[in-house]
Symmetry: D3
Subunit: 160 residues, 6 copies
């Protein structure tokens, strides 16, 4: 049974929480396409290219992963990629409703596309890219939150 799944997101930057979800997804689906939403934020910390590069460097140890970017509706992109599953991480109640809105909408727009929610390890429950950016910007230690390559890049960005 070959199931192609998509894990869409902004990944500005990729965190250990994302990585945890990706590793789980890679174990249960034949292929996982990490899909960076282009131009989805007004003032991203990292450019689309940097984000793709950081993801690629962080998932090198995994085999059934592709890293890509997309624009427009996720359902259209999924169709093009022949994907039947969308993977999303669910961390907290506040995620819940936004994610459900998206999942229901995608179900309406593309009945064959199933959204699958995975739960990150508890130690990443409250971790988010925006939190990482905020702490790094103020010189705080984010080494427990992101892959080594991202840590290095963040230090460079916020070097004083």
């Amino acid at each position: 049974m070959k199931i192609i799944s998509i894990y869409p997101g902004t990944f500005d930057p990729i965190t250990n929480g994302h990585l945890d979800i990706i590793e789980r997804a890679a174990e249960i689906f034949s292929e996982v396409i990490i899909a960076v939403a282009q131009n989805s934020t007004k003032n991203p910390l990292f450019t689309d290219e940097e984000r793709l590069e950081l993801i690629r460097a962080s998932v090198k140890h995994l085999k059934n992963i592709r890293v890509d970017c997309f624009e427009g509706l996720l359902v259209a992109y999924a169709k093009k990629k022949k994907a039947s599953v969308v993977v999303r991480g669910l961390r907290a109640v506040s995620d819940f409703e936004y994610e459900f809105q998206m999942a229901l909408t995608n179900r309406k727009l593309a009945g064959k596309l199933t959204t699958v929610f995975l739960m990150p390890h508890e130690k990443y429950t409250y971790l988010s890219s925006s939190l990482v950016r905020e702490i790094a910007q103020h010189g705080g230690d984010v080494s427990g939150f992101v892959p080594a390559i991202v840590l290095k890049k963040l230090k460079k960005k916020f070097k004083r």
Copy 2:
């Protein structure tokens, strides 16, 4: 890639919401084991045998389904069945926290077991077996909530 998944529950009785989750799971996993938790409720409306029978009758149209029952810890049962995925339906915020507790606990007890949450169709958002039992008991119409075979059985139970 062969992925065996388990969809555990009480199913007292199986509803259209359960069926919706099962159909979705059957499309993305090689096999779905519907596992009825034995002796999990004090005064069930249907016996374990009746529940198994109603489920079997309701999923006849699906191929990669097995119907079974289990006792004790889900992680132990999953190991025995070589399952790597637990499927759960997420309907509302109140489900969310109980489900997360279970998922995190199972992750701790069996690191290789991944819990996957699926979202039922919006029309089943607030549907539950207990709601079905309550309405049927008072003579209300549950034909939109359960498979035909369950409806028939419910009418028999509550015949006056």
Copy 3:
């Protein structure tokens, strides 16, 4: 425009929070039927008759109120009473989901019946009959939580 509304509940006993909802409902609907659900709890503190009596005594100052009791499905009772509105108080997120389940179910069972949610005064946000029973049982002061007549009756019940 004549709109008959029903405010169903267990009212074991009626609290100032209930009263606040009733007074609001009485101002915007032609008639409010306070409908005590019979036999809805296993070990009620007050009998159905006592609850009806306490409600009647507490709403004497309002004109367009009827106090009644019902059994079975609310939608059937509403039809019999030609009511087109069900009034419910919404206090907290935990109420929210149960109430929505009920409202959606009733809408399905009786399309013409509209559930209307009112918000009690903030000072009653976390007030419930079960809280009142628990505090009164341990000799705590519930004078700010219930009408005077209920306070008197509670003292009698828990007299030592």
Copy 4:
């Protein structure tokens, strides 16, 4: 009993979820004033005039509706219109707290004004104007989410 109600909102644009609430409100209150909050968003998709026009065209089949716009505090507008009820749709937990803050505040600012929450049909649970705008902008199909007249206008806006 004559009860004038106000259904305030941004309506950028009006959706089938709004319409469902309006139809319910029109059945239980003598008059429903749909009140478009002027200048409430920085970059609206539709101008105030367009929004009013789209609402008017969508509610033509209802009799006891007025369409208007307002600026400033809702409580002041309600007083001017002799309205005693504010109608709000409650879809999800995330709505809940914002709506309660508003309802409690309005209650404090104008004790006589009662906020009444209605629940849209489950199929509109996660529908919002911003979702409609986002999907339409990317060329997705929103025909199930908005009245025909809005659909036409959206296609015109996003014509390529």
Copy 5:
């Protein structure tokens, strides 16, 4: 400044999550009274005496702790003990509303008593005594969830 705090609960049995809260409280308040609510559950796994003993053994390394039991209203017990703070752990949204109800009620019943919420370490977010009991009963491994002394006692209880 001498501040006496009370940490009330059922503790059937004490878990590492409780212990984490106790250690935090012991650092910021002069004294922490761990107060076991007597007769609060119908069929406890451990008797009041066993629970007290397990707590005592688990907090031996801490100095400013007293272990006690109480019956009736917490506010009355707090007054007797000259405590001005009630300590509660907040784990998840479902805790939140119950805890707030209790905190607001206690504030009403005893204006001088302040409820202080502490957050357990994320690894205990979804840990509860009932979860521990359930897993232990089915022979699962709870060594990461409870102090060693509790683990030993649980094994004895559920020895086969």
Copy 6:
């Protein structure tokens, strides 16, 4: 036992809800530092200086209070001030998750720093600085929401 606590925030402007938390904190901790986050909002209504001044005027009746401002990470500021407690108000579920993210992050960044949540009086449950600004801007009456000195300043700002 000397415990220094920090109550950080934007305070644009200080409300009666903040004041309620401050008074509670002042009763249970040796010292409370009210710490205004500098440059934390893009277009504040009041300058950092005005906010500090309004706070100072509002807490004159309390002894163990210091008013200060800080920039950067809270954990760094806390260390500098030898504070071991961060005080936060918890009003509603929506606060809950943000606050937990912050508390867990601070715990990770500074293991010795304990976040303590206090619950404001129920009458301030839905009160926030942004609500106050919005009502005041439209000429609404906020006298029940803020200290007299803030009311005066707000009237001046929005004088017509």
